[in-house]
Symmetry: D2
Subunit: 303 residues, 4 copies
């Protein structure tokens, strides 16, 4: 592979540090962002590496070997495809679109089919690791799509990803990411129910967590999120509940499409939908615990 030309669309909280890693490789990165000032500032800041600011998705994609997209939801990507300024207007045969959005498999398959008609490859490639992982270049990248396509773009993905995992056909990267996040959502809620119960029964939740975290009931939620964010009442806003709700919904939809009876996933999808509606668009995902507290009349804080 010659030195690829890379375009990056979507300079959000995760996308920006990802793009920063790409910039450092001197790939002649072009960036585009809906709020244009973020892209122009990014380009200015990384001008020494030859980063430029594209004014339209089409301009970013034109001549690029790899176009990376990173948005809140799949429909954001789909909506950038068409029109004279759209990605499709710029993409050349042989290019690859790598969608790092935590997307849904159905939309990914639709996008892939449209690109395939034009001889453009597609990978769904959502990432996990959060802002810290993006900044450290240590993201896990879950890839769905053709393995030959993956090998072609692997060096690009390695700029920001420490672990690149080929999950299967198109949509499976999305599916794995959605299931992982659904597990996070379930464990957050299950631990909240358990600690609300114990708190109400007179147990200090810090004591209960201390036991659980050396026992069989522990999870990432109990080991990290509850001690650092709930007991302390810190609830920093790092990942929106709205997006976790969306992810659980994707996992629930995949399970339905696969005809997999999945009562816990489906019930969790309902609980998050209700919590999201109750807490609004800006709440952090861990704030779902506050809704459990409200429903149960408890406060899960250190005594």
């Amino acid at each position: 592979m010659h030195m690829p030309i890379v375009a990056f669309l979507g300079l959000g909280a995760i996308g920006t540090p990802m793009a920063r890693h790409l910039a450092r490789v001197d790939w002649g990165l072009r960036v585009w962002n809906r709020t244009a000032v973020r892209a122009s500032e990014f380009a200015t800041k990384h001008a020494a590496h030859g980063v430029t600011h594209a004014t339209t998705p089409a301009a970013a994609a034109r001549g690029a070997d790899v176009v990376i997209t990173c948005f809140p939801v799949s429909s954001d990507v789909e909506s950038l495809l068409d029109g004279p300024d759209g990605v499709l207007a710029g993409l050349a045969r042989g290019a690859t679109l790598v969608d790092c959005t935590s997307g849904d498999p159905a939309t990914s398959k639709r996008i892939a089919a449209r690109l395939a008609e034009r001889g453009v490859g597609y990978l769904d490639a959502p990432v996990s690791g959060g802002v810290l992982g993006a900044e450290g270049g240590t993201l896990t990248v879950m890839v769905g799509g053709d393995s030959a396509t993956l090998e072609k773009v692997r060096p690009v993905l390695e700029a920001f990803g420490k672990k690149i995992v080929h999950c299967g056909a198109i949509g499976t990267g999305d599916a794995v990411k959605a299931v992982n996040n659904a597990l996070l959502a379930m464990h957050l809620w299950s631990t909240a129910e358990g600690l609300a119960t114990l708190t109400s029964a007179g147990v200090d939740p810090a004591v209960a967590l201390d036991v659980i975290n050396t026992s069989s009931g522990r999870s990432n939620a109990s080991m990290n999120l509850f001690p650092e964010r709930v007991l302390t009442r810190a609830f920093p806003r790092t990942f929106r509940l709205a997006l976790l709700d969306k992810d659980v919904g994707i996992a629930a939809q995949v399970a339905r499409e696969q005809r997999i009876p999945s009562p816990l996933i489906q019930l969790t999808a309902e609980l998050y939908q209700a919590a999201h509606r109750a807490l609004g668009e800006e709440a952090d995902h861990v704030e779902v615990v506050k809704w459990v507290e409200q429903l149960t009349g408890t406060v899960i804080e250190k005594r």
Copy 2:
């Protein structure tokens, strides 16, 4: 505290190695077991440490400072209290009964009340750590009851427990243990649902687990039980599903008594009840995954 005389009732898979640790302290341990031969063999084996075999619970308790019970369910303990051979017939004022059964708070409170009438102390003190923890003397002991009573018997508990945690009033040790195990049960099932979904969507569950276990959806179930027992199809029998079902039921009951809306715990209690009925008394707890597989028409094995 003078060198206490200790009695141990219930030489099961967990109780036997716990008693072994007590024997080593030369406390003049007396042991009793429903199947008497296990107790007599144990006494013979540890005769050098002065261990003796009691033929009745009353005989074991007579003159003992601390009586430790370790049975499958609280009602086993309750049923040993009465009659001429019962624990109550032997226990002296000032003694303490420490129940290491994974019990239910309601029964623990009833037992404690009956003992209190006779001036006998009570602690519910279920343990976690499994057979390995019992053999290594590294159990976590969750204690409910009076803290002065706990301090009195702490040296005895330290013979087998590495971490002794005072949870609160009588019944809270049981409650913490039940909630921990309910979390284990939920995470086992949630991970099974997620992996069944991904398997059906064409993802190798080993690949999915590899991603989840470096991401936010990980839990003790996903990190240990699935790789070692499910993907390998080993399903060793270490902890019966019947007992985990019982534990989830206790957590569900505590939540109901506390009037804590807890949809995930309650639904999990139903799922385990159904699985327990379908798989029988001897199935291991991780075999619940086989029932999820049956319901979903999948097999979660390495490709």
Copy 3:
């Protein structure tokens, strides 16, 4: 049976019209109520029929052949048994206590056991039909207990009950009543979910109900409660949500005791517990629909 002497304890919304029917039979009815003025007024009003006001439960029970209790919950009845003024102090061997409370089987069995020690019979005999049925003397009475005991008191029950159904052993009257009310609770909620969905999809809920009520999805809830109370936004307060929550909880508990996997009953118990907490003690049971509306962002009203 000679003309029996009857005592009635609990002159609430249902109890008062029930007692009125008993008064008319000239049985020398004695009435007692916690708020004494209600009982004295009742006695004054029905003095022509020989009704008298007892100042204590013991006085009401003394010499009575049949003591009828009618309270919100079983523990109310249990709390009236003891002490110098308690029912037990007045009840004579051979008498029968008929508890028309919508009670729970466990408490009923405890009460029955205590009465049996004194040679007093017991029936759990909750009623359905509401205030209108009580006023019309057309209640359905669900009876648990010995059939010989039932036959002895049947003439008394027929004063207010049109349909007297022997359900089985002690506690089964309570169980049947609880399950009936749990079905009501489930159908109320299921219909609310369905109509919220259709309303959100642009269907007039009155049109949807019109179809459902001539189709297979109809229930008492859809045929009566939604057209009369929800679409009209009338929400009259006839039966407290707090009591329906209690009833679903009893049904859920019986299912658990019987080891019957029952995901819909158990989940409904959680939903009502949460709704009860959110809407408070005075809300009517049909107002649970308002909580569904709040969770779903809809209003189920005629367009």
Copy 4:
């Protein structure tokens, strides 16, 4: 409207008696069926009314004013549209396709959009009333689509429908039907759980049903299906569980699309999916009770 020419596609258990009513109006009915012999026999039998047998969907649709489709699922209809023999090849501008399938709104909208491009109208018009209603010409028809289109074809619908209800825009007929059937599914299951609990507690389920059916917990399921089909163990095969599962799935999907938290509908969808998988394609919908019996270890039969 001149005397319309009507085509009928899909001579199944419901479609055949519907077509019979249309035949009687001497509309020059054309019928088509995948298994051709059913259509040719139907045409022969009703030849006196001018009924003819079309050998392809295109032939049936050619020149027809109204094409009625009646299939198990929407995708059956969608699959008949294309190709030289497809419905689209025959349909003329100004015609109307009335889909009496119990379909899903998303597919209905896709079909409607394709027809609209050709100037062909579309109504989703699922029916309720079962085989008996179809034979008696007393079906309820739930119509989604333009009201002018409905008025144009109303005389045709009145040949088999007693109650024609305009529900709203395209897809709302499907949605109302799906929600009705989801309510049926929920009430079947809820009543099964309740009766399994009572049976296990020693109550004759016939006695319990007798009470429930005069009380607030009654539903179509408890009043008709349980007495006639379950207690008698008759379980006649009138409506396949596979189709009810599909309907609950549609209701669940509509709720998700509308972002309506609906825990009971979603959990019911999972339970029916599992039951469908366990009982197979031929089981009747009421046989779901047999699966509840299996899960709970009970038999709901008259004693």
